[in-house]
Structure formats: C-alpha cells, structure tokens
C-alpha cells in the first residue's frame, strides 16, 4: 500500500512522538520495570466497545429516523434536546449517574456502569452525526418510500451508501471513550466508593493515569504504561478514522 505525502508526514509525527516519549521516559528513570497491567487495558477496551455497541444499537436507528423525518413536527425539539445533551460536560454526566445510582438504585458503581455512562455520553453526538450523514442520501430514501417502503425500511436502504460515514462516527465514539478520564474516574475508577489502587481492573488507562497525576506520581515507572498504551491507542484510532474518511471520499469520487 503506497502512502500519500500527507500520510507519510502524519506517521512521521506519530513515530517521532513515540520515540521522544520513550527516550524521555528512559532518561527520567521511568523505563518499565514491571510488566504492564493488562487489567487497565482490558477495562479500556471493554468500556470503549460497550459504548460503541450502545451508540450502534440505539444511535443508528434513531439517527436514521431523525434524518428521514421520523420525528415529524417535533423534529426541532428533538434536535434541540440532543444538541443540548451532546454539549453537557462529561464530568456532569458522570456526577449525575453517580448520584442517581447511589441515591436511587443503591447498587455499587463499577466498570459496567462506566461503560453505560460512556455510551450515554456519546449517544446524542452519534445520533446527530448519523442524522447528518443520512440526510445526504435523501434521494435514496425518497425512492424507497415511493416504492412503498416504511421509514425503517427506507433507513435500511440508505445504510449501504452511508456506511463509511456511520463507521467514522462510531470510531470517533470509541476514540472519545478510550480517552475519557473524568466520567470513568467517578463511576469505576479509583475515586469510586469501592475502589483502591491505580491499575486495577476497574480503572481504564485514562482514569489510572489521572489518578497517578493527582497523586504526583507522574514521573514514575507506574505512569509509563498508561501513557504509552493510551497514546498508541489514540494514534491507532485517529489513523483508523482517517482511513475510513479517505476511503469514503474516494468512494464518493468514484
């Protein structure tokens, strides 16, 4: 696969950053002396996948319905609520879920609650993004409706054409989830009522890194793995989004 000059520059910057980080960590005595804690990596992957699954199941259908006029005369209000919900800070969403859970449900918080929180955090953005992507294919939807399709059937007819953009929206949700520290720290991380230790299974990499920063232990070997793995995952997710976007554009051009 041949890389374009823009892509070559991008990967040069990624590799240079990784090399600089490794050198700096080694110079500061932060080279890893212990194996990486796979619990943090597992929790990060689990929460991101669960958040994407929620966005895919609820967000796809809702976004398609919204784009194809499924909200009827309430469309303005629905979009308003979604826009407002999408702009609420993550720490507020986490705090609201923690309060609701501890006061109303009386069950301990944990990694699965953090996954649910990340899903709810990303859902309004995913719905709006999918709606925007689908609105570019109104012609297909109208043709399907003219042939007697219902709104869900019309949405299914549009999906093959819009799958690149939808995939990009879901990848962005995954990227946001893996870097989210505030919400996870409140719901499943070291600050949760039952939590202790930085790199235990309940804490994602971002939450563990935030905990180490708060304790002033950022220059230690303990901080090396969360930072390195987090940067690697972020670079990978950004590259995946970029690849999807470029292929989508090439598909359109063809």
């Amino acid at each position: 696969m041949r890389l374009r000059s823009g892509e070559r520059r991008y990967w040069a910057v990624v590799l240079a950053t990784a090399a600089a980080w490794l050198l700096a960590a080694a110079a500061a005595g932060g080279a890893p002396r212990t194996p990486p804690d796979l619990g943090g990596l597992f929790a990060t992957a689990l929460t991101s996948v669960a958040a994407v699954a929620l966005c895919a199941t609820l967000g796809l259908e809702a976004g398609a319905e919204l784009a194809l006029g499924g909200a009827g005369r309430y469309e303005g209000a629905v979009r308003g609520v979604l826009q407002a919900a999408a702009a609420v800070p993550s720490v507020v969403v986490g705090a609201a879920m923690l309060i609701a859970w501890s006061d109303l449900v009386h069950l301990p918080a944990g990694i699965w609650l953090a996954a649910l929180g990340l899903g709810l955090l990303n859902l309004p953005t995913a719905v709006l993004q999918v709606a925007e992507d689908f609105s570019g294919y109104q012609g297909i939807a109208q043709a399907a409706v003219a042939l007697g399709a219902t709104a869900p059937q019309a949405a299914r007819a549009v999906f093959p054409a819009a799958r690149r953009q939808v995939g990009q929206a879901l990848l962005q949700a995954a990227g946001r989830s893996l870097g989210e520290a505030a919400l996870v720290s409140l719901l499943a991380g070291p600050l949760a009522a039952h939590g202790e230790g930085a790199l235990r299974a309940g804490a994602t990499l971002a939450a563990a890194l935030w905990y180490l920063e708060m304790q002033g232990r950022i220059g230690t070997a303990q901080a090396f793995w969360p930072v390195s793995l987090l940067l690697a995952l972020a670079a990978l997710s950004a590259a995946a989004v970029e690849l999807f976007f470029q292929r989508g554009q090439e598909g359109h051009a063809r």
């Binding site: 892509e7 991008y10 040069a12 910057v13 990624v14 950053t17 967000g59 809702a62 319905e65 499924g70 909200a71 009827g72 309430y74 629905v78 308003g80 609520v81 826009q83 407002a84 919900a85 999408a86 702009a87 609420v88 800070p89 720490v91 507020v92 705090a95 609201a96 879920m97 923690l98 309060i99 609701a100 501890s102 709810l120 859902l123 953005t125 719905v127 993004q129 925007e132 869900p152 962005q172 990227g175 893996l178 870097g179 520290a181 505030a182 409140l186 600050l191 949760a192 009522a193 971002a206 890194l209 935030w210 920063e213 708060m214 950022i218 987090l230 940067l231 670079a235 997710s237 950004a238």
Partner: protein, 255 residues
C-alpha cells in the same frame, strides 16, 4: 416517532434531568439554609472566577494558535501534527505538561495554577479552532485562490480574509471557552485544586475540577453534596446553552 428515536431521546435526556433535579434541590438547600456551621464554607465565587479566567486565557490561546494552524491546514500543511494533537487524550497531554514543564516552573519558585491549566486546556482546544478556521478558509475558495495567485502566503491570506471570518472566530472562541469550562480531568491536575481566589502560578480552583475531585468525598445528602449539585447544574446549563447556540455548526469531537 419510532420506538428507537424515543429510546435514544430518553436516554440522552436522563443525565440532564438528574442534574436539573439534583442541582435545583442543592441550590435551594444551600441558599435557604438557616444554620451557620463553621468550618465549612461554600463560596462559589473563587471557583467561578477560576473557570472564567481559564476560559479567557485558554480560549484566547486556542484561538491564537488555532488561527495560524488552521491557515496552514487550509493549504495542506501541518494537518498530520494537528490530527495527532486532536487524537491525544487530555490526560496524556496533562501528563506531558506535568512531567516536563512543572519541574521547570518549580525551579523558578512557581507552580501549578491557572496559567499551567490554561496552557494545557488551550492546547487541547487548538485542533477544534484550527479545523473551524481551515473549513472557513476553504469555503472562501475564490478569494483564497486569488490571494495565492498574487503570491500571498498562508498568514497573508488569513490576514486578508480575517474580516470575513469574524463570526466564525467568535463562535469558535465561544465553543472552545465552553469546553474549557466543562473540562475536569486535565484542569484538576494542572490547576492545583485550591478553593480560594484564582492565581496564575499558585494552586487555584475551577468549577468542573472541584466537582470531579470532591464529589466522591462529599457525604451523601449533606450540604457539601448539595453545593456540588449547584455547580453541576451551572456547568450543565452553560454546556447546554452553548450547544443550542452552536446549532448547525458541526464541531469535531474532543477527547
């Protein structure tokens, strides 16, 4: 309206509804309380000023850096570095500043505070501003191409077209400032978490940072938790207002 859309709407509105109930109740409890019981005090002015100062300094920095970067991106340069910055999680950026910049500040008897937090948060919002500026410049194709044909550089084109970008710049500044006010994880490690009036190079506080750091410590049902509910309500309303004002503008995601 289909069941799927109704379910997504309901799920999206749940956090906002909980915050409204919790925050209004907390506000009433703090403001209508009749008992004065030191040593606890719940003055919100210091934290609020800290957030305002962060938004002003960080937003200004993001606009200043983002304008230059956006002009370069519009001409196909520097996009990779900007994408990398956009993809870097905030806590990793904060770790870099803590590991490399804070020791230098300590050497000259300065420390964490509003200045360091504004630097980190401003850097976090730079890709957002740059992408907005690049899109706006690309939309002014004929004027941009004309300036280029006359031999102008990216910075010259930005200067020439700046007048037409006033609305975009203001909107991006508002968006960046609102996101900075709502950012908790990075702010809490770089600002130092103190409850007094904000200071540039000494531990200070901000609304979102205090909510994150203190909520797990606050006893359930107490006035401390009620006060934090009022802060959550304030942040939610500011975010929702910014979201509604920015309708139609497709903002790139933040990490």
């Amino acid at each position: 309206m289909s069941a799927g859309l109704r379910a997504a709407l309901l799920a999206s509105a749940v956090p906002l509804t909980v915050v409204l109930v919790w925050g209004v109740g907390g506000l009433a409890r703090v403001s209508l309380a009749t008992l004065w019981s030191p040593p606890f005090a719940f003055g919100i002015v210091g934290l609020g000023l800290g957030s305002v100062l962060l938004a002003a300094l960080g937003g200004g920095l993001a606009l200043w850096l983002g304008e230059g970067a956006g002009a370069q991106v519009a001409f196909g340069r520097g996009g990779g570095a900007l994408r990398l910055l956009a993809a870097t999680p905030g806590v990793a950026l904060g770790a870099g500043l803590l590991a490399f910049l804070l020791p230098l500040l300590h050497r000259i008897s300065l420390g964490e505070g509003v200045a360091l937090a504004a630097l980190g948060l401003g850097l976090m919002q730079t890709p957002l501003v740059a992408q907005g500026i690049a899109a706006a410049l690309s939309a002014q194709g004929p004027a941009r191409d004309g300036a280029l044909a006359l031999g102008a550089r990216a910075d010259d084109v930005l200067l020439a077209l700046r007048g037409g970008l006033r609305g975009t710049r203001l909107r991006l500044l508002g968006l960046a400032a609102t996101r900075i006010v709502g950012e908790a994880a990075v702010a809490s490690v770089l600002i130092g978490n103190s409850g007094g009036l904000p200071r540039l190079f000494a531990p200070s506080g901000a609304l979102a940072a205090s909510l994150l750091a203190q909520l797990p410590q606050a006893p359930a049902g107490g006035r401390w938790q009620a006060g934090l509910g009022a802060i959550a309500l304030l942040l939610a309303l500011a975010g929702a207002a910014a979201g509604l004002l920015g309708r139609g503008h497709h903002a790139p995601a933040q990490r």
